[in-house]
Amino acid sequence: MIGIGFSIFSRATVDIPITLQTKQTIFKAGDNIVLRFTTNEQAVRLYCHSSYGVSILDANKDGKDVIFTIPDHFTSKKGVLNYKLVHTTKVVFEGVITIVANSETTTQLETYIGPPDITAGGKNHTMMVVIPTDSYDNPVEDSTSIKMKHQFLDTEKETIQFSKDFIGWERIFSFERSGRILASNEVNGTASKEFAIEVFSANAVDFEINYQRKHGYADGNQITTFTTSVIKDMYENIISDGTLVTFFVRNAKGMILKTNGTTVNGIAKGKLLHPDHMDQWEVKAYITGIAESTTLSLIYEQSTADFDVNFQNKNRRIRVGPLQSFMGQRMPDGAVITCLIYREGKYLETKTKTSSNGFVDFIVDEGFYPAGSYNFKIEGLGIHKEFKDVVL
């Protein structure tokens, strides 16, 4: 066998009597490779070429023989090593050595898993790719058996794959539950480290919403909180934290108000301030394009039935109030009241003020509003009042 190899792969090209003593042409990576030639000509050098690169070696003499020790960086690399024995500028001998992966050394594993997160449901998968190598980083022979393992909750699976074109690979499909898959592999007794694949829940399915509020009055001050049920996907997994749920509110005027909530353990909360006038809200929440909630209907009752408007200081001070809330208590500070001023039917100015201690005062300065007849419109808390022909 070696003899045939020799005759095929090696030949002398110039007529210098030369014999290759080393008969072995296939080596394992990492083996010590020494080429011994018998020749009269001592001034020869060896030109080596492999995928690693090119080198020219000087000869060591041993009696009548010349010896070349191939350097480690050639011998540890799997593949074909061409060599030429060169005398002056002429090639006097050529040969080929094949280096194969060293299966006697400890197998090293290079593993890639991607993507690192997938969604539950069994349709989505990730892929584990293993490149087993010898300790010189040469990929091992094809058809090396690779044990692929993964664990999810109570399930532990193990399959055997055979390496092909240097690699072995396996698809790992998600399960119906969300969680974390741990995966590893083993070749020739060498185990890989642990790899984690995050399994997120699948897309949410429709859910319910509810609300909490301190009272049902439109006082413009308290907060109504909308809460979703625990939002799950079709496999009963709670959806990922942080999923944005948008609550849309359609009020009596057809305007669309909105508030957001991000889920924690599947529950999202959205908040809105009570309206300051009687209103009816239709509320529906969405995970846009994916899931929607039931519809809620809320009614806010008028909290202030009426308020007084007094003209004082020769009508130059308009005192609105006391603004009373549903139990007759003073309205909390901040209720918005606007006063529109007209003179002889012509609009002049809008003054907007917020209440303090249940009252709002509008001052109509003499400097700006000369004596005459004015109309005033007072609006706020869903109440409109008009005062015509007020003489200043």
Partner: protein, 1039 residues
Amino acid sequence: MISEKYVIEIDKQTTNKYLISALCIGIAFHGTSIFFTLESTYDALIHLFFADHYANSWFEPWNYKWYTGFTVMGYPPLVHQSIALFSYIGGLKFGLFTVAIIAVILFITGVYRFALLITSNRTVAGYAAILAVFSSSFLETLHIFGQLPSILGISVLMHALPDIYLWIKTGRYRYLLTAYSLLAVTVTSHHVTPIFGMVFFIFPLIGMVIMDAAREKVTTIKEVTFSVFFKTFLKLFWRIVGFGIGSLFLIITCILPYWINTKNNPITQVPIPHGSRDNYLEVTSSGLVFFLIPWGILLCILPYIYYRYYSKRYLFFGLSITILTILGTGGTTPIPIKILGENAFNILTLDRFTLWASIMSLPIFGEFVFRFVEGDLKQCIQDRYGSAYHKILGGCLISGFIFVSIFTMSLGYFRPSQPQKIKMLPIVNFLNQDQHDHWRFLPLGFGDQMAWLSTQTNAMTVDGNYHSARRLPELTTRAVERLENSKYRGVEGIGSLQQFLTVPEKYNLKYVFSNDKFYDPILYFCGWQRLRQLENGIMVWEKLNIPPLSTILPKDEVPLFQKLLWGTIPVLTVLIAFLINIQQIWQRTIRSKKLRTSEYLFFKNDYTRFRNKLLGFSHLWVALLILVFSIGMYSFYVKNTSQISPINVVKAYYDALDFKEYERAYSYIDPTSHKTKDQYMLEISVTDGLLSSYAKLDEIKISILTRTDSLAKVKVDTYWITPLERVDKTYFHEIVKYEGNWYIKPLGYDLDIPPDQFFSNVEPQFYNHGRRRITSEQTAHEDVLKQPVLEVLNAKLLMHDDNYAIIGELQNVDNVPADVVIKGTLYTDLNAPLATYNVKHQMNHKLMPKEVTSFRINFEGTAWDDSSLKAPNTFNPDEFTTIELEERPSLFNLQCSGNVATTDLYKGLSINDLEINDQDLSGVLFNTGLQEVTIPQLLISYYNQEKQLIWVDHHYIREGVKPQRKQFFKYKIKDLSGVEVVSDQMDFVFINGLPNADISEKVVPNRNIIHELSSLLPIEGKGVKYLKIETNSYVGNPN
């Protein structure tokens, strides 16, 4: 007229005690004070940066650190190379201070030699040297501007003047050689000095030589007629020409690479405004810095200086100083622009002319002081007004002189031109860690200290501090000196900065160091995120999805001979000059040879009869100066007296608010309004937002609506520069008069009381470890998170108002929060790319899982790229430069990439109320969360009848929203009847490099489009039927 006696008298070559004192005082004074001033000057740190370049790569002119690479051949190298050489001994700063001290010595001795040349009197020259030490223009140039090369250049030029004189006068080649050697040093230290020095110093000097030579031919100066002068000129012609040709040769060859570079890379930039070109009467601060300070006390004796320089011998100096004085007035008169031409006027900084004029005045100032202290002027004054008056006058003169000196030195202390000194070490460490220097960085709000940062790190920045070397069109087409201080350049500056922040991947710009919170909002809205605050208080901002710099960067190669010339000639000129001059000094010291008395010493002035008329005129002049000064002060007082009229008080009030001087602002509030100071301060302290925290008042227009004797109602239109856009806001104030002063009535404030005293919220928070193992190796494969999957729901290319834009909606369909970058490219029918741009601020860059955002890409060109178009004087907030497209685009490509985001995910803003009144949308925002939203932004999407998206607009709300509080907003609905859909073909939409269609099919296969459509707000707009409003919140101080 001072008659000149032709006296031949050989001075005793004794050591000049005045000169020695001047040197001692000068070195002690400047040598001490530079340690406190030089580093905070405008230029010193830039020179230090250049020096650092030479210290590390002496012969390689290419510097990668600034402006994506530039050549240092744009500035004469001597000073930088000298600092670099000294840095080998004791570090860069040692080099800087050493060179500064050398410059001081050369300046004092230079003034001495120049004064001796002019006045032929060693005592007078000694006086001039002492005065030079404290000369305000010199103090300003060194301690405020830090212009070392300028100082060195003019000093060495003054050293060269005696030799030039002697060469032309005597024709001895030794003098020519010395003159050349010194001129060469001047050329290599500063390029402008020898060119203008030739005109303003050497030409008059030549005139003086000819005058002296002519004087020797006749018996009295009066006999020097034009014909005599001309004949002498012809006699000396060849010497003059010889010198001229030689000088020209030196100017060209000594810095030949500089000229080649200037020719190859001409300065085609938009001129950068400089205070020295202002009208000093309008911009009084410029007048102070560029006129009053450099002239200083010299202004008082200006008549004497002119009188002396217009005497026959100095006639040409007289002409020269006149032109210098006029040129130094900048834009105050139209003459400088006519003399220099518009081009040169806009490139040159005109303060240097005043500097030269004041230096030229020093010999005469020395002469004046000499005559005042111990000469005929003293006698004259004592005879006429008595000795007490002389003493008082002397006291005033000295006080004035010292006052101007102290004032100049302390200018940098009271009005700092630089931000406070920044500790660079944390930044340098940050850049060295974890391969952060593989990207470019951008400092904001660093002032000239950015140069010092650049010297200390290998990391590169897109910005730079030597604006003549700028190369990127984004910078050269705008009058923006640096991006770093763009807020001082108004909209042009902010516009330039926004371009860099929107498309940072073009420049591999990943980190921004912010020393000024003013820039924070624009960073946020352009999709940047806060990384952390360094221990020196600098906030680090980071942009995801930026590729690192390539290992090999492009550079402009120059031939080897240029590199060799540049690296050797400057130092050689110094060595040669030193050898030649040391020989002279050595000979003088050991008296080995009988020295020839310098020719110019034969032309003595007569200091015995001071003209009474001149004295009288000088008095008049000073009186006039005092009068003008007083009028100036008075008008300043009247203009700035705040409560004299309703307009003044409003102006003063807004000025106080702008500078955050709330105590002063309170003093303008109506005292009868029962608003206590505590209450006022409290109301101010609870307001936050774009206007109150990030705005600089740009313009204010006040109009009085109604006014009585004691009441007024004013409308105040304010315009504020904010990092995002120019904001206008109109206020109405009622003004009352009370005991002769006008006061503002306080505006109402929000009385609203939130319902919950104490409340809690549950929100998810996120953390990404990044590299889990502490190693400098490449990040482990399993530590790299998957890019979040996004989906473009719809996208189209539109044309609106002749602008192309890509709009659309995008959803984060992954389970983790995402930072989103969208890049759009326009193509022609034939698939030729036309333009590329990223989404700037018309989107929400940070998306929670399943969150949707609308987006719009505007295709911005480089503003005012076409030099024929002038930048507009006024700013339109919505204006941006439309890109010039060669063809009509018909297709578009969108590349969207997501990266896992963990910060800036605040979603607590809700829309609590809405009202539509014709085309006005008004509403109430309510903050439901726990963070204070500093700047709320609304994204408004417009839909047509078929509920198809047709436009996306944004609107910033000027006031912030605190937790559980409301904020009212108003928005004008746009007219979109002109929108034309160019393409809605979504074939080329990619997410993280994968086709969008595949993702759509796989991730949300059964998308329910009703969700989007049923939540639209119906309106009756022009070309618009539905609206969608999204909120985006910038949280200034996350807790």
